[in-house]
Amino acid sequence: MIETGIYNANQDVEIDYMELDRIIDQEFNNDKENLIMILQVIQHQYNYLPQASLLYLSEKIGVPFSQIYGLSTFYSTFSLEPRGRNIISVCLGTACYVRGGARVWERIQEILNVGAGKTTEDMRFTLEPVRCIGCCGLGPVVKINEDIHSRIGREKIQQVLDRYQ
């Protein structure tokens, strides 16, 4: 396999190649048109896109690694670095923004002491801004993993975060 050197992060995750092969072949017919969805499944499995899995995908599906790297960096969902156990998505859509979403965003950054797209050292949280999750009527909204917390004020944040370990 080729060495790419694009990753800085620790890559000690073990890849289940049999499973990966099955996903590419059976769920997605080894079809290039399904690349984005295959990447979504890989990310769902490992919480990020491990380099080894992308190299395998590139070989298997016959798309140059450079293009797969292009996809992984073009689309904002994908992460090339391991992410925390809990993903916090703070909505900065317009409706949440005018209702104080930016202040919520600032406050969470203060509490966790990390910036956009970054993970806390203990791997507990990854913080990312998101542009609208379609709950505009209930803003400001913060999504943690699959839970949506609506009408969240600055003072409620700590209490909500405590529920996720």
Binding site: D31, K32, E33, N34, L35, I36, M37, L39, Q40, Q67, G70, L71, F74, Y75, S76, T77, F78, L92, G93, T94, A95, Y97, V98, R99, G100, R103, V130, R131, C132, I133, G134, C135, C136, G137, L138, G139, V141, E146, I148, H149, S150, R154, E155
Partner: protein
């Protein structure tokens, strides 16, 4: 069973209509779209199901969204011969009491939003009103009369909130798939196109291209072609499509089937953004159910028409809402737009003719086919026909999804449907069209909602986001906000967009941070013109709109930032501070209790004081004060 013939469909419609309108016992419909779930509907659902397991006479069911997000979780309770009541804010602690109260005929009016006068959709005018014989409850308003609903006309949202989105039979009970079966057996493809053309329906995704004309150009071409649904609803502040997909996915499938018949396609795609997992789930179920009934698949209804639908999910790129980028992304590539010398209708997905319409556009189609093009064209204005769904959000009392006839004024939407601005604040602007749109000030509030009119004002109809702003919103900061969004979302391949937006953003950031200087406004205007003229795709061409409209209508606010070094709205932190008005402050001490920095001090019943060195301008005191004693200086 296959729905090959009218008779089969008619039977299902009849059977399920009975179940829908005359349930054996009590039926509880809990609004389980994303917004309902966010407000706690899932917990309510589980609680109700635990107390009333299926099969003991009280049926707990899920529905989509009734649109009134402000009042979620919304729950409707009905029973044979009893009124249909819509409860609001029915969280898990209240749901059982509400159901038991309903069973005993004891209605807690505090929890009630309204009762229904007529549950039929516009496609059910052939049947009697199931509530005609039911005695309404005195003192409870009818849903149809309360201001949020009275000015609405529901066509695209006709079933949202009234049926279980996972039940194809309930969709059929509301007149679903009749338009498709009719189109399949009785209407020639050219005639379908004529009906859609006659209706005057224009693309609801934003650009407003006439749908019938698009179908016609696609139908004329040779070879394989595709029907694609754009469900990549990327505009922040807009969630019409999510709500339709979550509440009535079959209406979209039926619209796509009819489009496929009209243009001669056998393969459909739905491109949904991955931020909408529930919409994807409901779509998957809907497609499976339609396949079970033989409505999607090979030789539908014994005809030679075959159609399949594949769902593709996006991965978080706003630009993929643009047609050429969307099709590149469908092909599994990076979603970069291309120049449209050749339209996607001719050469789109896989370089084949591709018909792309938005979710709401498709949802309108079955109704148009059944009621006729002329019927639809009778609603609205000269150039804008039918209705439009808006997500009415921001600083407005009644937030939610509203479907209003074209031609209604912005004032009616904001102040009648929306109930005006909360906390007695003053209206400042309404933003339509997402990042490509513009901000419309108060003096144009009487303008009708119409493609042309909104464009004349510098905004656009857009996909339907309508964000209301009050006097606490800084227009310079909002313009900066949109450019910051677009900077991240620009695909980066053409220089005017990639570099131009960054330059404009830097100037705006300087202005917001108090470093604005003379000439900045002119420079912004020059850059805006350049970006509009020379960008490759719609994203870049419309990117400066928010800056241009705010400069047009709120220029003095820019000048206040640049010359006066003041942010009149109290948003840009470098340009204002809070002060206590000693005459208005009665020393209630609330602000001091809430201040996270302990910057507010003062004895009770005495005017308080803010220590400017400690203050972080977080606005908590400003929002907490009930006496307007905290001033922005």
């Amino acid at each position: 069973m296959q729905v090959g013939f009218f008779k089969d469909l008619e039977k299902i419609t009849r059977d399920y209509r009975k179940k829908l309108y005359y349930p054996g016992g009590i039926k509880v419909n809990i609004g389980m779209a994303s917004c309902g779930i966010a407000a706690g509907a899932k917990a309510s659902f589980e609680k109700a199901l635990e107390r009333f397991p299926q099969g003991n006479g009280t049926q707990i069911s899920q529905t989509g969204c009734l649109g009134f997000c402000q009042e979620e979780p919304l729950v409707e309770i009905l029973g044979n011969g009893k009124p249909r009541i819509i409860y609001r804010h029915l969280t898990e602690d209240k749901i059982l009491d509400a159901i038991e109260g309903y069973i005993q005929g004891d209605f807690n009016t505090k929890w009630i939003l309204a009762q229904l006068r007529d549950p039929r959709s516009l496609l059910e005018d052939t049947i009697e009103n199931p509530l005609a014989e039911v005695e309404p409850i005195e003192g409870i308003p009818f849903l149809e009369d309360i201001p949020f609903y009275s000015k609405q006309t529901k066509i695209a949202l006709r079933n949202c909130g009234y049926i279980d989105p996972d039940s194809i039979e309930e969709y059929m009970a509301k007149g679903g798939y009749l338009a498709f079966i009719k189109s399949l057996s009785q209407i020639e493809p050219t005639e379908i196109i004529n009906i859609v053309k006659e209706s005057g329906l224009r693309g609801r995704g934003g650009a407003g291209f006439p749908t019938g004309t698009k179908w016609e150009s696609c139908a004329k071409l040779d070879g394989e072609r595709y029907v694609i649904c754009n469900a990549d609803e990327g505009d922040p502040g807009a969630y019409m499509d999510r709500s339709i997909l979550e509440g009535d996915p079959h209406s979209v499938l039926e619209g796509m089937l009819i489009a496929a018949l009209a243009i001669g396609s056998n393969q459909g795609f739905i491109y949904v953004r991955h931020e909408y997992p529930l919409a994807v789930k409901r779509l998957v179920t809907a497609i499976k159910r339609a396949e079970d009934y033989g409505l999607i698949g090979e030789n539908i209804g014994g005809s030679d028409f075959s159609f399949k639908i594949k769902i593709s999910t996006g991965a978080g790129a706003f630009v993929c809402g643009e047609s050429t980028a969307l099709m590149a992304s469908l092909e599994g590539k990076v979603g970069r737009p291309r120049a449209k010398y050749v339209h996607t209708v001719e050469k789109g997905f896989r370089d084949k003719p591709s018909n792309l319409n938005n979710v709401e556009t498709y949802a309108n189609i079955p109704a148009i086919l059944l009621k006729g093009g002329q019927w639809y064209a009778n609603i609205g204005t000269e150039h804008s026909k039918g209705t439009k769904v808006f997500s009415l959000v921001g600083k407005v009392k009644n937030t939610g999804l509203v479907e209003v006839p074209m031609g209604i004024s912005l004032r009616e939407i904001v102040f009648d449907v929306g109930g005006g601005i909360p906390k007695k604040k003053k209206f400042k602007a309404v933003q339509t069209g997402g990042p490509s749109g513009g901000c419309i000030p108060e003096k144009f509030l009487d303008a009708p909602v119409d493609y042309q009119k909104l464009a004349e004002l510098g905004a656009i109809m857009g996909s339907g986001g309508m964000i209301v702003m009050d006097h606490d919103t800084c227009m310079v900061n909002i313009a900066r906000y949109f450019l910051d969004f677009l900077k991240d979302e620009s695909c980066g391949q053409c220089i005017p967009c990639r570099e131009g937006i960054v330059q404009m953003l830097e100037i705006l950031t300087d202005i917001c941070e108090g470093n604005g200087k003379e000439g900045d406004i002119e420079l912004l205007e020059e850059l805006a013109t350049m970006i509009k003229r020379f960008s490759l795709c719609g994203l870049g061409k419309s990117a400066p709109n928010s800056v241009l409209t705010t400069l047009l209508y709120f220029r003095e606010e820019y000048q206040a930032h640049i010359r006066g070094k003041k942010c009149p709205a109290g948003v840009c932190k470098a340009l204002f501070h809070y002060e206590v008005d000693e005459k208005l402050c009665n020393g209630c001490h609330l602000c001091a209790l809430k201040c996270p920095q302990e910057a507010v001090t003062g004895e009770k019943k005495e005017p308080h004081h803010i220590d400017q060195d400690k203050c972080i301008k977080c606005s908590i005191c400003y929002e907490a004060c009930k006496f307007d004693a905290i001033l922005i200086k």
